[in-house]
């Protein structure tokens, strides 16, 4: 099971890369769906069918709402700040850092006195040396590294929403790695929050399309200029082309 879960961790990172680097809205949402779905599985022990079903339902509902909101969206997104190559490099670097850090952390936790108090179930799989929580922490850092720039330097509503939902997925993965198997009620809460985040993103995207026919976020102080418009890069591309 471990190799499968590590593969799932890799796939969800690839989904995250697609979500932030895609040039079309639909591809971005598909990448988001892959990342969110995979995040529920990368935990040891694997959650029961009820918990998995609940997470899957929340993920599906959230991404489907965003999908519906993109019906009248323009065909292309503003250029990604990192591009496919940059996103992939950042994701791989973050994954590697997380994977290695989790190993060190596990070793430190495992070095506690055998006569002392136990860990109370905290990170038991990590302490036992399993690779799954390491992959989970690596995937969590990778998604966070991909998502945070989309949130902090948001230029369009879709990428902002995608970034926030990837942050939630990263949160779940970190919790899986550092804490262990969550309570079923916590799974339900996270699923509802994911669905709610999808609904909020969908509402924002729909409002953006309804008002301006585009996904770009325009600052009220400069109504004709998108936020953090990188005019220099645009000019460079224009000259080269």
């Amino acid at each position: 099971m471990t190799p499968v879960l590590i593969l799932v961790a890799g796939l969800l990172v690839m989904g995250g890369i697609a979500a932030v680097a895609a040039a079309t809205p639909r591809l971005a949402v598909l990448g988001l769906l892959l990342a969110l779905t995979g995040a529920a599985y990368v935990v040891e022990p694997v959650p029961g069918p009820l918990a998995l079903g609940v997470r899957l339902a929340g993920t599906t509902l959230g991404t489907y709402l965003v999908w519906i909101a993109l019906r009248r969206a323009p065909g292309g997104l503003p250029a990604s700040s990192m591009g496919w190559t940059g996103s992939a490099v950042i994701a791989v670097a973050a994954f590697t850092a997380g994977f290695l850090a989790a190993g060190t952390l596990g070793a430190a936790l495992a070095g506690g006195s055998p006569e002392g108090p136990g860990t109370g179930g905290v990170a038991s799989a990590l302490i036992a040396g399993s690779l799954v929580p390491r992959a989970a922490l690596g995937a969590s850092l990778a998604l966070a590294a991909l998502a945070v720039p989309q949130v902090v330097l948001a230029r369009d509503t879709l990428r902002l929403g995608v970034g926030l939902m990837l942050v939630l997925a990263a949160t779940g993965l970190a919790s899986n790695a550092l804490y262990g198997l969550p309570d079923p009620v916590e799974d339900l809460a996270l699923a509802l929050l994911t669905a709610g985040a999808g609904a909020g993103t969908a509402a924002l995207v729909a409002a953006s399309i309804r008002r301006g026919g585009e996904l770009v976020i325009r600052d009220s102080l400069r109504p004709d200029a998108p936020i953090r418009h990188r005019a220099a890069d645009e000019a460079h591309r224009t000259v080269v082309s």
Binding site: T104, L105, A107, A108, L109, A110, G111, G112, S113, G116, P117, G118, T119, G120, G121, V122, A123, V151, A154, T157, L160, G161, L164, M165, V167, L168, A170, T171, G172, A174, S175, L178, Y179, P182, D183, V185, E186, L188, A189, L190, L192, L193, G196, A197, A199, G200, T201, A203, L204, A207, S208, R211, G212, I217, R218, D219, S220, P223, I227
Partner: protein
């Protein structure tokens, strides 16, 4: 079970009102009623929640949520107060702009109440954090319903801060148990290599966690450097929604953050002086900076926004204390803060509407024209700071003293009063010479009302001649006819609109008929007859009207056709065309009712409801100024009661949270 009922009512009301209000017309009216009823239901259910229930064997009753959601006194008080204040805000919004003003406010309030209840009732911190983050999403309903061009940008900021702060709390809860374990290892209970690793990780990890939690609370309340969101919001959304967006939606997340600190971090008693100092600096910067911004801003909404931010700075002291003793004062202050800022936001909304300006210099003299509004403002200011012995003031003192002791405690307490000059500025402006805007605004009329017209029918027996009240004859045959027709109209089964039209026609016809039938010549409305007399008591018209008047008074109700026919018969001379037309209209109306087959009882109830609604609408229009001021005064009194310590605020805030399922079990 009562908690389940509360959540069900809240969710249903939110969904129904969110669906119906934007549609306008009848759907909006019906769903608005449903939403208001749901809000009242949630408020009532909150006050009916029962805490600390035990089975016969002394075990706690877990209820349908199996102890995952637990009712506490604090929850009951917060949700009840929130619901009460929201009801008044809804009334305020309707008075300010009718149903369109409820379009975002009502569903957002219900959604936030439901999410906030789950967050504050949760026995699992992760669930509480997720619910608190979800509560913030309710603000999007208001923001995206706004018409301004920057609604999308504001919505983006709101979505960002809502989900990011929730994610921060969730990560913090995942890291803290691990960091606590590492801290234990770092104290030397493990192998040398492990101790060395743990000691380099534990302290910084916990320090980062406490800073992240403080940053999450700061971002949610709009403290610097996250204040741009609040500033933009105040320009965009209707002012009566600001208490919900910048105060109440932040309360659940703040309560959960306090629980994280109190449950996970404070018991470790680690030396985090550097981090505490950073949080303290942030609190002082917020208190000072926001107070200054509020004082110097000339925009009323911006000033109010910065006053909220300034007072919210005290919440960081509850986190920086890292002491379980700060738990009670912190929770007490967050409730007093939300209540007082609701009153302040309502005052600003009404002032802006009444004087048609947001500019503070143009509000000079506002107190002279609005005694009720002035009283509300004064009470709000008192509620904000509190009086000796009040819970709000005690919370300020405890929070300031709990961080670092003397003399820092005194300085922090003083910093908490830096918003006082802004309130004094409002008062100084209010007592100044009125500007032209203030001068032409509708003043509040605190006058004795005249008696309702129905009671005047008893006074119509006076033989001394007609009595004129308010320019209208209220005794004598003309007054009899007038009041009878009006009573018939208001009690009529014909519906409000038709009753009004028919009443006007009937009044005109009756006056004309009575004037022509007067032996002394024409008697104009409001004036006695030319010869000073009135139709004699034996006049058949008078007797007929009086007889039917008595009959109506005895029965208390009248059949539709009978009443209108009686009016037309008594008022109609053979040659009065208007009365003939009136009779025809009555006949047609009777036929339409018969064709419809509407049961008389249902039609009667519906018409009386419609008439009551018409009367209510009339009162709302006539007394709008006073009602608005009264609503603000009600909120101010609620805030003052909260600050004083009503509903056992101090004890409820100090009770431990029901955290029984999360955290380590070492």
């Amino acid at each position: 079970m009562r908690l389940l009922v509360l959540l069900a009512i809240g969710m249903t009301g939110a969904v129904v009102s969110a669906w119906g209000l934007p549609r306008g017309g009848r759907a909006a009216r019906i769903t608005a009623l449903v939403g208001v009823a749901a809000l009242a239901g949630v408020t009532g259910a909150a006050f009916l929640l029962r805490t600390g229930r035990l089975t016969d064997t002394g075990q706690p009753i877990t209820g349908p949520f199996d102890a995952h959601l637990v009712v506490t006194g604090f929850l009951r008080m917060v949700v009840g107060l929130w619901g009460l204040e929201s009801l008044v805000l809804v009334v305020l919004a309707v008075l300010l702009g009718g149903l369109p003003r409820l379009r975002g406010l009502l569903p957002a309030t219900l959604a936030a109440l439901t999410g906030g209840t789950v967050a504050m009732a949760s026995a699992d911190l992760a669930v509480g954090a997720a619910a608190a983050a979800g509560t913030g999403l309710a603000g999007l309903i208001v923001i995206l319903a706004a018409q301004g061009p920057s609604a999308v940008a504001a919505g983006a900021r709101e979505l960002c801060v809502t989900l990011a702060t929730g994610a921060v709390l969730l990560v913090a809860m995942a890291i803290v148990p691990l960091a606590a374990r590492l801290a234990l290892i770092a104290s030397g209970v493990g192998l040398d290599e492990a101790t060395e690793t743990a000691s380099t990780v534990a302290g910084p990890a916990l320090g980062l966690v406490i800073l992240a939690v403080a940053a999450a609370v700061a971002a949610r309340w709009g403290m610097p450097p996250f204040h741009v969101r609040v500033s933009r919001l105040t320009d965009l959304v209707p002012p009566e929604t600001l208490p919900l967006l910048i105060a109440w939606t932040a309360v659940p997340l703040t309560v959960v953050a306090f629980a994280v600190v109190d449950r996970f971090i404070a018991p470790l008693a680690l030396p985090l002086d550097g981090e505490r100092a950073l949080i303290l600096l942030a609190a002082v910067a917020t208190l000072a900076g926001a107070s200054l911004a509020a004082y110097f801003h000339d925009d009323l909404r911006h000033a109010v926004g910065y006053l909220v931010i300034a007072d919210a700075g005290l919440l960081l002291l509850a986190i920086a204390a890292l002491d379980p003793a700060a738990w009670g004062p912190g929770r007490a202050w967050v409730v007093a803060l939300a209540a007082s800022k609701t009153a302040l936001g309502a005052w600003a909304a009404v002032a802006e509407d009444r004087f048609e300006t947001r500019s503070l210099p143009e509000l000079r003299g506002w107190m002279r024209r609005s005694p009720l509004l002035s009283a509300a403002a004064v009470i709000t200011a008192v509620a904000t700071f509190g009086l000796p012995g009040w819970v709000a003031l005690q919370a300020r003192v405890d929070l300031a003293a709990g961080v670092w002791g003397s003399p820092w405690g005194e300085l922090l307490l003083l910093a908490g009063f830096l918003t006082l000059p802004t309130y004094l500025r409002f008062a100084r402006l209010g007592l100044g010479r009125a500007t032209s805007r203030v001068d032409r605004a509708a003043p509040e009329r605190i006058v004795r009302r005249r008696k309702p017209l129905e009671s005047l029918r008893v006074e119509q027996e006076s033989p001394a001649g007609p009595t004129i009240v308010g320019g209208e004859m209220t005794t004598g045959p003309m007054g009899i006819a007038t009041s009878m027709i009006r009573s018939a109209a208001t009690g009529s089964l014909a519906g409000v609109g038709r009753a009004k039209a028919m009443t006007r026609g009937a009044v005109a016809s009756a006056r004309g008929a009575l004037a022509r039938s007067s032996p002394a010549g024409a008697a104009t409305p409001g004036q006695p007859a030319a010869d000073g007399g009135v139709p004699a008591a034996g006049d058949p018209v008078v007797e007929d009207i009086r007889g039917r008047d008595i009959a109506m008074a005895e029965t208390g109700a009248m059949a539709e056709t009978g009443a209108m026919a009686a009016i037309t018969e008594s008022a109609e001379p053979a040659d009065v065309a208007g009365a003939t037309g009136l009779r025809a209209r009555v006949r047609n109306l009777s036929r339409s009712r018969t064709r419809a087959g509407m049961p008389a009882m249902a039609a009667g109830f519906g018409a009386r409801l419609g008439a009551a609604g018409a009367r209510l609408t009339g009162v709302l229009r006539r007394d709008r100024t006073e009602l608005l001021s009264g609503a603000v005064l009600a909120l101010a009194i609620l805030a003052a009661l909260t600050s004083w310590g009503a509903l056992d605020l101090a004890d409820a805030a100090a009770e431990p949270a029901p955290i029984i399922l999360s955290g380590t079990t070492d």
